[in-house]
Symmetry: C2
Subunit: 354 residues, 2 copies
């Protein structure tokens, strides 16, 4: 039986560890606090279409490929874990307020149409028919039923349970660079990966994101059914439904390893979210937190071989949870000797020689 040491207990590390154990490897996962990093803070959108940006067509294709894997992945995971993986089967609406925001959504819709992914354009009234909580400032937008979401914390719990049932040994201590691993080493340490291998130095950087967790209170407007994404005066904001409330996010800043939510970030999120869903004023503000997305130079993950004994799966930027099923599949392929697509291989940065 071959050995694998997975460094990092977020969604990527846990997914790879679970799948590798299923494939017959003897897997150890190392993380001083599994499931408490950026995967814990995430919004949990599975939204390749509404995340699509011109120039990132490769990322859109990867996202769509992974989104297709998600329903079966969630079902298998729920069964293996004996608890729900948290997949929320409802789609996404995108809302715009001012004319500049609507023009930007028009450009996104045209871009998607050119890619053969037409989306439904709706006016404010039509959007409010889908989601009655949308406020009067919402003037138009898109409906994208295929862009889903997952409860990231339910997912983490299910992944850990399934991984341990499949034989993964979780060791709650840090991995030190230079430590000798039995067998193969797989680095899935998110924004902290760069320090763990010379081939990743300067390649993965922390991109801070702040989120709020709101809890529905008795008498308040009901939680929307779908993910609501919006542009408010040019600023993106998203509101992702959870069983008891909403996760609100979208701030993005680069300040090193900084996980403190700021007054200015929280103020912007609250203001923009209330413009879109005014009824949240009566919700409880249960949590403000910040996480570190592992940014890569092209926003595409870095999945592949770093040297004869070391693999990597990180750099997922905004898309770690979406891309987890596909990433785990690619890593299991690597472990069996199959290559990865060139667009995710770290070799694209000329960093690796093997």
């Amino acid at each position: 039986m071959k050995d694998l040491v997975v460094v990092g207990g977020g969604v990527i590390g846990l997914s790879c560890a679970w799948r590798a154990a299923q494939a017959g490897l003897r897997v150890t996962l190392r993380d001083p606090a599994p499931g408490t990093g950026s995967s814990w803070v995430a919004g949990g959108m599975l939204a390749p279409v509404t995340e699509a940006w011109p120039g990132e067509e490769g990322l859109l294709a990867l996202g769509l490929e992974s989104l297709e894997l998600w329903p079966a992945f969630a079902e298998e995971l729920s069964a293996a874990a004996g608890q729900s993986a948290g997949l929320h089967p409802e789609g996404t609406v995108v809302a715009a307020t001012g004319s500049g925001d609507r023009a930007e959504l028009d450009a996104l819709a045209q871009h998607l149409a050119r890619l053969g992914r037409p989306v439904e354009r709706l006016n404010g009234r039509e959007l409010r028919r889908l989601e009655p909580a949308l406020g009067p400032d919402v003037r138009g937008g898109l409906s994208v039923p295929g862009d889903l979401s997952v409860d990231n914390r339910a997912l983490l719990a299910a992944l850990r349970a399934a991984a341990e049932k499949a034989g993964v040994v979780v060791e709650e201590r840090a991995w030190e660079p230079g430590e000798a691993a039995p067998g193969t080493l797989l680095i899935c340490a998110g924004a902290h990966s760069a320090a763990l291998h010379p081939g990743l130095a300067g390649l993965v950087r922390p991109v801070k994101g702040e989120i709020l967790r709101l809890t529905h209170r008795r008498g308040a407007f009901p939680v929307p059914t779908r993910t609501v994404r919006a542009l408010v005066d040019g600023r993106p904001v998203y509101l992702v439904p959870r069983p008891a409330g909403l996760v609100v996010g979208a701030t993005q800043s680069e300040h090193g390893f900084d996980t403190e939510p700021t007054v200015g970030g929280v103020r912007d999120l609250l203001r923009d979210a209330e413009r879109i869903l005014p009824g949240i004023a009566e919700y409880a503000l249960s949590e403000a937190a910040a996480g570190l997305r592992p940014g890569s130079p092209d926003n595409v993950p870095v999945i592949g071989r770093l040297d004869g004994r070391t693999l990597v799966a990180t750099g997922h930027s905004r898309n770690g949870i979406l891309l987890a099923p596909l990433t785990a599949r690619l890593v299991v392929g690597l472990l069996a000797g199959r290559p990865v697509p060139a667009e995710v291989d770290p070799a694209r940065f000329g960093r690796t020689g093997t």
Copy 2:
């Protein structure tokens, strides 16, 4: 040795327990979670002058009397506890933005002058000379050097340490109405007091207050030296300095026993606080919480005898921490057979017959 059971481990209960133990009583304090209620959430202002409202002259007199006790109380407490009681010796500035807010401050200044408590009027430039962090929207205000503040969490820790050193036995479980107390019972259960004695039914009600705790971050504007109180478009807000940041508060609403901070409450606090101190945008938002002030019908505390074996000290509304030294003194007097001033006696509501 006489027995006393104190119900409630907030600032009032702990202060009374400490002082009663010093006076020679055998004291037990009962609270399922001492020091975690509204005293934990409080801003910690010792500010009778800037809290003065026309019609509340009796409360102002009590506040001034207790404020005079504070420096010696804090010094004795720090020594007895072996840790700082958290008294912050700097004063208070009151800032106004629009003309309506300035007119309201003018009325407060005139009211105080009529009471023989003149306060210093300052324009925006003069205020910013005292506190350079005040933003350009601040057009004028008052300086009240005598209104101080205390770090409520340091105070709670010091009170508990001093009380236990003086012999108080803290039992971390709830007091059930109807339980038999050895000796005298003293009810200091804040907003929860009404349920504990028929003489308090309908007299003490919960008044919710939301606070934010902000932590200074490297590179951000320094924390102000003084307490900053302000009126922003008619809404009060206060910013109280702490060693590592600020406590921001002032919301007030009556929703029963509700301790969830809401989106709308937090949004208002952030907006108003940033109008006064724009530099806090770069601070961390470390905590949002809500507490329940024990409201009384006239905002004056309810301190006195409820029946032959039961005393009460609650109903301190916005002023519990300010009035703690005086309250403890009055309670020790009651225990020695001395009457309390008529304005705090529960007999003023015609509720007690003894």
